[in-house]
Every structure is written in structure tokens, then in C-alpha cells.
Symmetry: C2
Subunit: 568 residues, 2 copies
């Protein structure tokens, strides 16, 4: 079936956004264009005196939409004679999250108001803003006492990456902003609303994905956490709840059609369907072809692990996962979300701060040479062991007050050895998540990887296969979140227009696998030994319950290293 | 008393040697000259496939003696009208150790023999060669079973940095070298013998310092370990003992007078007294003005901590110190030696391997900028904690099978923060030694620091004062080992010539204090908290006995960091 119809997915990342145009008959990307956010450092407003602070300017998103869609349409028009802008039937949007911002009654961001423009609290509170760690702890403690059911669906611990922690911290950090805010809106909800031309907070169709995973929304208990609970946290939060939302929607719903203003701006028709938004990882999972038994890993600056599970089958609570939300990925399934707080971010930190120029002058050169040198090393050869906690541990410990650990360095340890150990650490972190999910009854039959690291870093993918002992598949699409968003756009356009009845149907047509990395048994055997040591440190530093003696850790690593070196 | 007499101290370090000419009336250095060893990497023969291997070419030493003494004499002659080479009355030598080498019957190094020139086992086994770690363990185990008194004077554990481990490993690594070796000689014994013109191993006056601290020599049990014990380690070691030595000497003894050959070569008289050699740290302690109650810290690539204790007073065994040897520093006193396996070496490793060029292009520039940035930080501000074990832990754990640990890094951690944490770690290591010595009844009234780091790195000295809560004095002489060697040279020349009856007398005239760093109470208070965490990790990873839970470690560091940052 050659429909000659196209959809746009817009993926709003941490440092840039990207629009991609996809052919709905096969999921191929005709054109894509990236826009780097101009505000702050690599698009993030930071505060050198507080490493926890990370905000973003929503004006950057609007510039990005216009710039990237127009550029992508132009490129697609030049490269594909069959393509024309009139054949675009839908736009889907995915974003980071939880990334809420305070808005006024019309839904305008407070940071657009002259009086708040120098106040970081009035901007978007980016997912990786951890300023609210003590509020997160407060929510966890209060819920444990009075609303334990709230915690059971979010792995037992509320996070500073999430909605209510951030809003509560906003109230403390800047009462002026909080008091002037009519509502708080996730950017995945606000951006579709902008495109359809109605940002009135009371009208915005909020995402079930954002609501369920980050705002403790659950229809079982009547939506958002109740008024009394929120007021018990802090006076004013309960009142704010009334102006947030009562009902959330899945992303195959239509938010509306493109407004006249935006249709003109982009050169598109007002018939274009705009889908309800969702988070990048959830849409990415769809773009990677998620199904029951499939773990989709979206490997980027941080990592999201997504699974689905039929919502008519029994599913236990899984301690330490970020959330289990009915419909958050696709209607009819529970979405299970887990993740690692930093993966690519750890490598970036290392390359930007601790790699001498002997590896190259630019960041890219350094990465290439580090990977080339590191890939020549055998498992265990570095003698190093790392805990991948530079940004805390999301799953399975749900603890932002954890930090990195590097162990085993000698006077001969070189940067590429540490780089390899960092990659291995993220693989161990990935394995801890896999084990935790399977221990709780959700069998994982395949692992599909997507995101930049999965595509570009073959050493990393092989190490993940060797550490986990499982084949690592890599998704065909290089832009799975955008593709996922586009799939929802196609479905939201309706069967009459796209031909797709359901997300499952569109997904089967538009997704696929590109490459598979198979585990090498002898490598897996070495990593099994090292993982035992990783897990001991993981539990010793990451849980209150584990006591132990670590006298053997360095020695065992040296023994493994010496054995491997002898075999070379 | 202006005697107008001069002495030369030659200090053989790990990468270079240095000759200094001192005025015996005040210890002032008239001239000094350095010679970088030409062989290997920075003077050390290494093996990229075995980071434990570190050998040295004795030919480098001979080139160094000639080059540095001639150059120093020339400079002194130009700068000081009163000086002339005829007024030089003695030469003293200090070296690294234990750094033994195999020699033939005439005392010629086996590596000078054409047939062994490509065999690293025939060269000097440098102190920091750790290839013999399993032999060290074997010696400790065997001694614990059959000769526990051997261990009681060396802190309970025999080290791979020491004499018998290296000789035993030589037997395993290269039986050809071992079997051709008539004897093994410490370079601190061999070099004075070269200068007096008699290297016959049976005639060489061996140093009590080297013998007692590294070769388990003790007159209480008849000198070196007995034949049966050595044979029980490995057949052949007992036979080798017979050709090593029976009696050892203190460094104020004269090895002999300068040979005609060397007198001519250096432009000196054959009346010049050559003192028995000793290790750099022990002579450095004398050059720094060691006395009862004084801890002298020689801060270099590694660190030696030296104390003396009157040999007519009770002194308990001190677990974990490297050795307690009667007369090893000065006659009439027990010499107590402790030390840290790597201090400057850790900083060098870090700067050479993990510091980007944004801190500077050269090693020197990087150090300057790291120190400048790190010195602006407050104690606790980095949130980092390091175990300074990249080269194992000499005192108090006596364990080379330990490695480094860095904990607390986030995505914002920068190189200068880690640099500061590395410096702090070595200060914590220093404090662990101070505590251990005092807990065993040896009161420390003052700490005198010497060596390059003490002179050049004021941030380090202030951190040491703040961490230990004690004033850190810095020795007046920048060349304390060479000055110590020169003091022994002066004493060995005899009272008639030098005017000195004893080392104590010469020391009082020739040494002094330059500068004192006083602890800052508020810094000390923060470091007391961090030291508790250091000590928990130290014991948890460094001893078999300690079990614990480390859940609070990262959190406590973050709490300290956040508190410090708030106060800024």
C-alpha cells in the first residue's frame, strides 16, 4: 500500500529539538532538521553555584518548531518528487519530562512576562533539575505514611525529576512565581496546545504518560493526588491542583488541528492533525517497535527503559521502576518505565572534563580515539570498576543523593581505560534493571536499543550484549522518538486519512530492526564475575540494608586483570 | 666558627640524581646539579605489559656522579670566592631503596655483561618494582608460621618493595641471572664502594638502614634471616645469603677514601672521606633536623615518614610501619620508618592522564592552574573523597594489592576538584600514619616536611595542616636527603677534619626550619568529618575485619558540600 502520505514527528530533547518527516507506508525518514536551543549552556539554563539547577526557555521550542519543520519540508521536497507539504497529515510531539513550567491564565509561560524574565523559577523546570530533592523526599515520606498506594505504582520513591517535587520547590524557591502561576503545564502538553492555537490551561489535553508517570495521576484514585494530601505537603499545593487538570489522554488522541497561524507559519494545511503529546522515551518505544516481552532501551544522555504489558493481565508492582501507568505508551497496555539517570551524560562529562588533548582536540575526536583504544581492551583488563551514579540512580535505587564511584585505578590507568569502565558501569546498571523487572514476573524476550548511542557506539552495544548475556537489537530508525510521535500523529489523523486503525497497526508497518549484537560467551563469563563486584558495591553504597566487607574487591579486580592480561 | 670546609651529598632519586655542595658551618647549599637518568622512561625501565615492573640502569648513576659533581664544583667556584675543590672533605650518598641489583664476584652489575644486557632481571630492581608481590606474600606467610619475630619489626607484613621479595622473584623470573649472580647489592651500598674503588661484594660496607628496614637484618637474631628460613622459601636463597653480608654499618662510618681513579675524574683529593650509604628518607630526616618527638615527612613521588627514638627507652612494635631498626637513621636511636606508596606520583598520574589542555599545555602549566583553581575551594566543597591507593598502601595497611578509589563525582565535577581531593586523600593517609604511631606510645611533638612538594605546593601544606590539625613546618634546606648525606660525610671525615663529634652535633649546626603552616580551625572541623568517612572506606576496603554499610557515605559528602556552598 503506497499511500503517499506523510507525518511529522517533533522530538524535543535536552539540548536541541528535531523535526522529521516520515513516509507512513514504511516509516522511512525523508528529511530531518535539528535546532540547537540558543538559551543557556547547550540549551540549559544553569547556576554555577548549584549543580542541581537545570531550566529551559520555552521560547527556544517555538523557534525550533518553525525552523526545523520548514527546513525539513524543503529538504524532503528537494529529495523526493512524490513528496509535497500538502500530503502531511499529522504532527506528533514528544518531549523530555517531567519538565513542567508555570503559566498564566492564558497558558503563556510566566518567563515571557518582563517581570519574571530574570527569575529561573519562571522557566521550564527541566527533567534533570534536581533542586527539589528534599521535596521529593518529603513527598515520599508523606505518601508512605498516608497514601502508600500512590507509591506502589512509581517504584516506591517519588523523584526530584518529577512534577510535584518541582512545583513544591518552585513555591519555596520563588513564591512570587508560584503565586502568579495559574497552572503548571508539562511542555509535552503545552506544545501541541500551541500548535492547535489554544493554550488555555483548562482546555489543554494533558498527556496520560506525563500525568501517570510523573504526577501520580491514576484513575483508580480519581486522577491527581487528592487535595488533602497536597495541602499536607504544603499549603497552596492543593489549591493549585484545582487548576492543573482532572483528566489525561493517550497520545493517539487528537489534540486538535493546526491553527491558522501555525499552518501559515509552517506552510501546512489547517487539516493537519496534532496528536496529544507524550514523553520521548514512551514514543521512542513505539518508534522502536515495542510489544509485550520487548524491552526498549532509549540510550541518550540518560536512558529510558520501556516495556508494555497487556492491561488485562496480572502485573505486580515492581520496586524501583519509575512507573507503571495504564495507557502511557499505548492504549490497552500498562506502560512500564525504568531508566538510568545518566549514560551519555557520564561519557560527555568525562570527555569534557578529564580527557587530555592527546586523544584529540575536539570532543568528537576524543570520543573516536577513546573508543578506538578502549575497544582493543578485553573485559577485565582495566582492573577498574565504576558505579554509574554521577547523576544519582533512577532505577533500581530511585535515589538522586548518590554519586559516582571509580575504583581500581593505579599509577598506569589511562583515560580510555576509564572510558571503557564507564561504559561497562552503565551496562551493569542496565543489567540491574533487567534483573529487577524479570524477578517481578515480567519476562524479557528481546531488547531493542535506540537513540544516538545505540546507533553510533558499537563498542557500547557489544559491551551491553556481553554484560547482559543477551542479544542487543538496534532499531531500524535513527529517530525513534520522532518516529513514535509520527506514528501517533498518523493514528490521530484517523483511519480515513492514514488507513491505520490502531497504534499497533501503524507500528507494524513503520518500525523494524537494523542490526543485532550477540553476546560473546567468554566475555560474558568475565563480566559475570565483575558484575558480582559491581552489585556488592551497588548494594553496599545504595541500600541501607546491605552490610559487608570489601577487602576482596580491589584484589579480585586485580586478579581478574592479571588473568586476562596473561591470556593476551 | 667559619671552617671553610665543604661536603658533597649525592641524592639518587627515582628519575634523576643530584649532587649538592654544602658549607659545613651552616648547611647552606653553594651549588647543586641534577642529572636525569638517560635509560628507560624518565630513568625507569618499564614493561608496558606489566605495570609492576620498574628497573634501572646502574650505568646511569656513574654518569650522574661525574656529571653532577663536576658541574656543581664549577658553579660553586664561580659563585663563592672562598670555595675551592680542595676544601671538600667528604662525600655522602643516599639512594632509593630497597633497590638491589645482581652483581658478579667483582661487584660488577650483571647488566654490564653483554649476555644479560637485554634481560631486565639483571638491572637494578627499583624500590617501586612490584613484580614480586606474590613472593612478598609468601615471605609474610612463612615468617608468620616459623619466624614471627622477623615480622614484628617491619609492621607485620613483608613488602614487594623489599630486598628478599625481589631476589626471590629474580630467581623465578630469570634463573640465569640469579645463578650467575655472586651477590645482590643495594645501590646505596654499591655506589660508595665504587667511589672508594673496591666493589668486591665481600668487602662492601652494607648499610644498616637498608639491611634493617628491607632485608630483615637484626643483630638480635644474628643478622640476616637464617639459612633454613630462606631455603624454606626457595631452594638457593639460603646459599645466596652466604654471599650477601654478615654485618651492616651506620652511615656515619667511613666506607673509605676516594679512589685515585675517581679523585682524578672529579678533580678531588684522595683524602676525601666517603661515608657508608643509606636511603634517601633516612638521610633526609637528618637533613631536616630529626630528633626525638619529631616526625619528618619527606614528600616526593612517594612519602617517607621518619622518626627516631632513643634506643635505651622502651619502644613497642608499631603495626603497619615499615620498620623499626636500631641505628638506621642515627647511632643511638631506633629509626622508625613509615610511608605512603604514592603521593606526588598520584598527582603526576592525574596530570599526565586525566587533565585536559584547558588547564595548560605543559605538565607544569597544568599543575599551576590546577593548584590555583583548587586552592580557591573550601574543604568539603568538592563533595569528593579519594582513597590514595593507586600504588597500594604502605603504611598502615602494608598492602600493594590495593588500588585507588574516587567517590562523589557528579556530572559537574571538574579536574581541579579531583586534584584537590587527591591532595586531601594523601593528607588523610598521612593522618592515619600519625594516629597509628601515637596510638603505640610514640608522641609526635612536631612535624617537619621536606622534599619538593613541601617546598613548592603551599596548598598541599595548608591542607596537611588543616587535615591533621597540626602545624606543618617546612625544612630550611631544599635538598634534605643530600644535606643529610653531606652531614654523614662531614662526620665520617672525623672530628679532626670537620670539627663534628657526632651526627647530632653536625645536624644542629647544618639544619633549620624555613616556614610553618598553621591549621585553620574551621577547615580542620570540616576535615574531621570527612576523615571519618575516609577512615570508614579505608578500613572497609583495606582490612578483612571491618564490615559496614556505606549508604550514608555519598549522602554525607553531599550534605557537607551543600552546607559549605551555602556558607560561601
Amino acid at each position: 500500500m503506497k499511500t503517499n502520505k506523510y507525518v511529522i514527528g517533533i522530538d524535543f530533547g535536552t539540548n536541541s529539538c528535531r523535526s522529521s518527516i516520515f513516509d507512513i507506508s514504511n516509516g522511512d525518514e525523508l528529511a530531518g532538521n535539528i535546532f540547537a536551543y540558543p538559551t543557556g549552556e547547550a540549551g540549559v539554563i544553569i547556576d554555577t553555584s548549584d549543580p542541581n539547577l537545570a531550566r529551559q526557555n520555552p521560547a527556544d521550542y517555538l523557534l525550533g518548531i518553525e525552523s526545523t519543520i520548514k527546513a525539513a519540508i524543503k529538504v524532503a521536497g528537494n529529495g523526493y518528487p512524490d513528496f509535497s507539504a500538502e500530503k502531511i497529515i499529522g504532527i506528533g510531539i514528544d518531549t523530555t519530562g517531567s519538565s513542567p513550567m508555570p503559566v498564566d491564565k492564558k497558558g503563556n509561560p510566566l518567563c515571557f512576562d518582563e517581570k519574571f524574565k530574570d527569575n529561573p523559577a519562571s522557566y521550564v523546570w527541566l527533567w534533570k533539575d534536581h533542586t527539589s530533592y528534599s521535596e521529593a523526599r518529603g513527598i515520599t515520606e508523606q505518601a508512605a505514611k498516608t497514601r502508600p498506594h500512590y507509591l506502589s505504582k512509581i517504584g516506591g520513591v517519588y523523584s526530584s525529576e518529577w512534577f510535584w517535587s518541582k512545583i513544591w520547590h518552585c513555591q519555596k524557591e520563588s513564591p512570587a512565581v508560584f503565586n502568579d502561576a495559574y497552572s503548571f503545564v508539562e511542555i509535552c502538553d503545552w506544545l501541541p496546545a500551541v500548535l492547535v492555537g489554544d493554550t488555555n490551561p483548562d482546555n489543554i489535553k494533558r498527556s496520560i504518560c506525563a500525568a501517570g508517570h510523573k504526577a501520580m495521576y491514576n484513575e483508580q484514585w480519581g486522577g491527581l493526588p487528592d487535595y488533602e494530601f497536597l495541602e499536607s505537603l504544603s499549603h497552596g499545593l492543593g489549591e493549585m491542583r484545582k487548576r492543573i487538570f482532572n483528566k489525561a489522554f493517550a497520545a493517539d488522541e487528537r489534540a486538535g488541528c493546526l491553527s491558522r497561524e501555525w499552518a501559515d507559519k509552517l506552510g501546512l494545511s489547517t487539516n493537519v492533525s496534532v496528536a496529544v503529546g507524550a514523553f520521548d522515551a514512551h514514543m521512542g518505544a513505539v518508534g522502536a517497535g515495542v510489544k509485550t516481552g520487548t524491552l526498549v532501551k532509549i540510550l541518550g544522555t540518560s536512558t529510558c527503559d520501556i516495556m508494555v504489558w497487556p492491561n488485562d493481565k496480572k502485573l505486580a508492582d515492581i520496586p524501583g521502576v519509575c512507573g507503571i501507568v495504564d495507557g502511557s505508551v499505548m492504549q490497552g497496555y500498562y506502560g512500564i518505565e525504568a531508566g538510568q539517570s545518566a549514560v551519555g551524560d557520564i561519557f560527555l562529562w568525562f570527555v569534557n572534563n578529564l580527557v587530555p588533548d592527546s586523544y584529540g582536540k575536539t570532543q568528537d575526536e576524543k570520543f573516536i580515539n577513546l573508543e578506538s583504544a578502549a575497544s582493543k581492551l578485553k573485559p577485565g583488563e582495566t582492573g577498574l570498576l565504576v558505579l554509574d551514579w554521577n547523576n544519582g540512580n533512577r532505577t533500581i535505587l530511585v535515589d538522586v543523593r548518590l554519586t559516582g564511584l571509580l575504583l581500581g585505578q593505579t599509577l598506569h590507568t589511562q583515560a580510555h581505560e576509564i572510558y571503557r569502565a564507564l561504559v561497562e558501569a552503565t551496562a551493569f546498571g542496565a543489567l540491574a534493571i533487567i534483573d529487577r523487572i524479570e524477578e517481578n514476573g515480567v519476562k524479557i524476550n528481546e531488547v531493542i536499543n535506540c537513540g544516538g548511542l545505540a546507533i553510533k557506539n558499537s563498542m557500547l552495544m557489544q559491551i551491553y550484549a556481553d554484560v547482559t548475556g543477551r542479544p542487543m537489537k538496534v532499531s531500524k530508525s535513527k529517530q525513534t522518538p520522532a518516529l513514535g510521535a509520527a506514528i501517533f500523529a498518523a493514528v490521530s489523523a484517523g483511519k480515513n486519512v492514514s488507513g491505520f486503525e490502531s497504534v499497533d497497526e501503524a507500528k507494524d508497518v513503520m518500525t523494524g530492526i537494523n542490526k543485532t549484537y550477540n553476546p560473546i560467551p567468554e566475555n560474558h563469563n568475565v563480566y559475570k564475575e565483575i558484575y558480582k563486584l559491581y552489585k556488592r558495591l551497588h548494594d553496599g553504597f545504595g541500600t541501607k540494608e546491605t552490610t559487608g566487607n570489601y577487602f576482596n574487591v580491589m584484589k579480585d579486580l586485580l586478579d581478574i586483570r592479571d588473568k586476562v592480561r596473561k591470556e593476551l
